[in-house]
């Protein structure tokens, strides 16, 4: 079983890296880009647990380790195992 966790800054937190990417895109002429937020992706392989247990475990891991809840938020989903 695999899950993907996406961590990004909360909307209230300034993201200078995202801003820099946006400015670069504007410089290249992509004027329709209104905002860029940069984040992190974690693909995690799990074993020996049910889907239901994963639904408890993944948010716990995300809150405790992957994201800093003061500045970051996360979303996650099950992904296809190859």
């Amino acid at each position: 079983m695999k899950v993907r966790v996406l961590v990004s800054f909360k909307d209230s937190v300034l993201d200078p890296q995202g801003q820099t990417v946006m400015n670069a895109l504007h410089t290249l002429g992509y004027g329709s880009v209104r905002d860029v937020r940069q984040g992190k992706v974690f693909d995690i392989a799990l074993e020996n647990l049910t889907k239901k247990e994963a639904e408890t475990l993944v948010p716990e891991i995300a809150r405790k380790v992957l994201a800093n809840p003061i500045i970051e938020k996360f979303v996650w989903q099950f992904i296809e195992s190859e």
Binding site: S12, P16, Q17, N68, I70
Partner: protein, 243 residues
Amino acid sequence: MKFGVVQFPGSNCDWDTFTVLQNVMKQATVMLWHKDHDLQGVDCVVLPGGFSYGDYLRSGAIARFSPLMREVTAFARRGGLVLGICNGFQVLLEMGLLPGAMLRNKNLKFLCQHVHVRIENAGTAFTRAGRRGQVLRIPIAHFDGNYYAPPRTRDRLARGRQVVLRYCDADGALTDDANVNGSLDSIAGVVNEAGNVMGLMPHPERASETVLGSTDGRVIFASLIQTLSRRKTGAPRKTRGRR
């Protein structure tokens, strides 16, 4: 009085800090390995600067899971003095021993330069050898020193006078230019509510010997020594903030 300097894989200011405490400030000092479970009876724990665990995930994020940090948390909860310098500050934030978080510097550059910081609260265990408004010249060296706290935390910091140091110019004025990393309210150092845990981004250990161009950093170490000697002699403790 005994100081302990914690070594993580990737710490690189550990021996600078050790040398200043032992040779300049003349204090008994030991190194504490992050995998140990024993604080060796130290009176003050210092988390030094560096790049613990390569700054992977987030600066300071992995170091907090080292076995010794459980002891450091218990020590802090008992009122033990804990000082975090630079990466040590980041570790204390990730551990939740200090409020707030660090973002990347506003200009996205690693900043390695001398800055000025102003003592905002000279009533803490870490600044009592200084005076309010005193300007210190101390170097910084960091990528993630852009201090951030959500509005409610920011209010609590103000109420408890927990902001200890702010970036300023040579005359002590708070300007945008002087706030090199973009920190909220120019915050360079904070103390916890109980007043026994402090973190700061500038490196006082790099400004404690004349040969290095500034001895202003000694104020922090001298304050700790004063605080500890008062505690030993049973003199009333000057505490900041409220529980």
